[in-house]
Symmetry: C2
Subunit: 311 residues, 2 copies
């Protein structure tokens, strides 16, 4: 049984990992959560969680106590202190994400952690480099958020290489699904919740740009496949290969919730218009894994939302 | 006549630029120097320099006053606050180089500078990615110094793209030549000066790894060719394509100064063993420019050193 530390364990992706462990891997993982909050924002309890540490990610002491108290085998770094839209404060972005992650990597090295898993961002990292973004090409992020993600990837490589820690860097496309409670990120999440609240949706730009969407439950299964297959020391694009425009997403939601209303506003500079990337490397490791169709993913998310009156 | 700001104007590369302007371009450039020192460390005076600002690069006010007092057309950012060997203090590296450069870029944007030229580092950026490093590949620096250089490149791209400032990012191989007065960087510089002081040279590793060496006067001429040809918005590897081992360099120096003595010590982790890179992009812009042979470059540097009793 492995002891894993999940930073951002009560966030969107963290909650999905915990739910998956509860459902399928309860005997494999003892989970320690580090989060800004002492309790899950929906009041959820996960059986796999043995301890919760509430703290400030930038405060080294808040992190170090976890490694002092527990023998951590693997670290899952799922924590962001900013989102693309708020990373215009570049110095805060660098301090709270980059420098704080370096502090974490120093602890990972010092306390002999065996594996480090980091969620990076496909959309933010690739900028407008190419329409078929490969992991091996040089990238030019359009936002500080993306540059900081890229710099974190490089420091992970540097630390892990010099100390023989295995790592996985996963560049996700646009994840959606249950436990996504952000008020500012993710068109599926925002549109579904606004619809349920009878509020109109505002679309940046004309809604025609297409992006790769990833159902979060697929992501967790893919992550488990990569871990089970001992895939190590790789940067991997994780996407479904399914491209949809915001307009198409809204039309799918409208097919389930005809009351949906939306309007258009100016494009924001940090938002890529088109985004797709090459997932050949991922396919090499996950074979013919079949991704959930966007209709089923959205329907599933809508059902989950309707069952959660807390939102 | 253009007004250019040279940050690190009294450093190795900066001094060479000023000397070149004095010799060949005195009617083209009015130069403003920003440096840690109020005067050139060798007591040199350059005719092209109209003002000298002494300051701390991390202090925004020290920089902003320059832009308030002068209409700057182009900025040449040749300043480093760390070297690979000292960048183990990652937080200092990030604060003093990365965050400080972002402060500079904010001023460049605010005061409508037209062009931004940055000296990056081939050796530090490329790590051990490949033996034929192209600008377009993703790189994994082995040191924080290299990661910070890479992150600076990305922020330059982000700022310049969004504000239509033209930029040139030049990834130099291993420059050597006059005005290199560092006590810790550059095997040619260190070996020549130790020889003149009758001190033995210490070689990291066994001295067989080969690297691309670039005579600094070639670099300045190549930079001028790129500027004259209006090459813009590019990241360009700048190397002579001439690969030499440290042992070969020492043997060349020994041929001029038979008193040279050297010994070997362990390899440092941040020092790449072999380093070469692809200069096809550079060749596209500079045609058949002929680089100085290493023998002539070293002989020339030795003569210059002997003429400078201050060293």
């Amino acid at each position: 049984m492995k002891t894993i530390l999940v930073l951002g364990g009560f966030g969107f992706i963290g909650s999905n990992l915990l739910q998956y462990v509860d459902d399928y891997k309860l005997n494999a993982y003892r989970v320690i959560v580090f989060d800004r909050k002492q309790n899950h924002p929906f009041g959820l309890k996960f059986k796999c969680v043995s301890k919760i540490y509430k703290g400030d990610f930038s405060n080294r002491e808040h992190l170090e106590v976890i490694f002092q108290d527990n023998k951590i085998d693997e670290v899952f770094h799922f924590l962001n202190t900013t989102v693309p839209a708020t990373s215009s404060n570049i110095k805060f972005d660098i301090e709270s994400n980059l420098v704080a992650t370096i502090g974490l990597l120093e602890l990972v090295e010092q306390y002999l952690v065996k594996k480090f898993i980091f969620i990076s961002s496909g959309g933010a990292i690739y900028g407008d480099t190419n329409l078929n973004n490969l992991e091996a090409i040089d990238t030019f992020p359009l936002s500080s958020y993306g540059i900081v993600k890229l710099a974190i990837e490089k420091y992970i490589h540097m630390f892990c290489k010099r100390s023989n820690i295995s790592y996985l860097i996963l560049r996700l496309s646009n994840p959606f699904g249950r436990f996504h409670y952000s008020e500012s990120q993710g068109i599926v999440n925002i549109a579904l919740r606004k619809t349920l609240r009878q509020e109109p949706v505002t679309v940046w730009g004309d809604g025609t740009g297409t992006k790769d969407y990833l159902f979060i439950e697929d992501f967790i299964q893919v992550l488990m496949l990569l871990l089970d297959n001992a895939v190590d020391n790789e940067v991997i694009n994780i996407g479904s290969g399914q491209l949809y425009s915001v307009n198409q997403i809204l039309e799918i939601i409208e097919s389930f919730e005809p009351s949906l209303r939306w309007s258009y506003t100016d494009k924001k500079e940090f938002d890529n218009i088109h985004f797709q990337f090459n997932t050949n490397k991922l396919r090499k490791y996950i074979g013919d894994y079949e991704f959930t169709s966007i209709d089923i993913g959205i329907e599933n998310t809508l059902k989950w939302l309707k069952g959660n009156t807390l939102l």
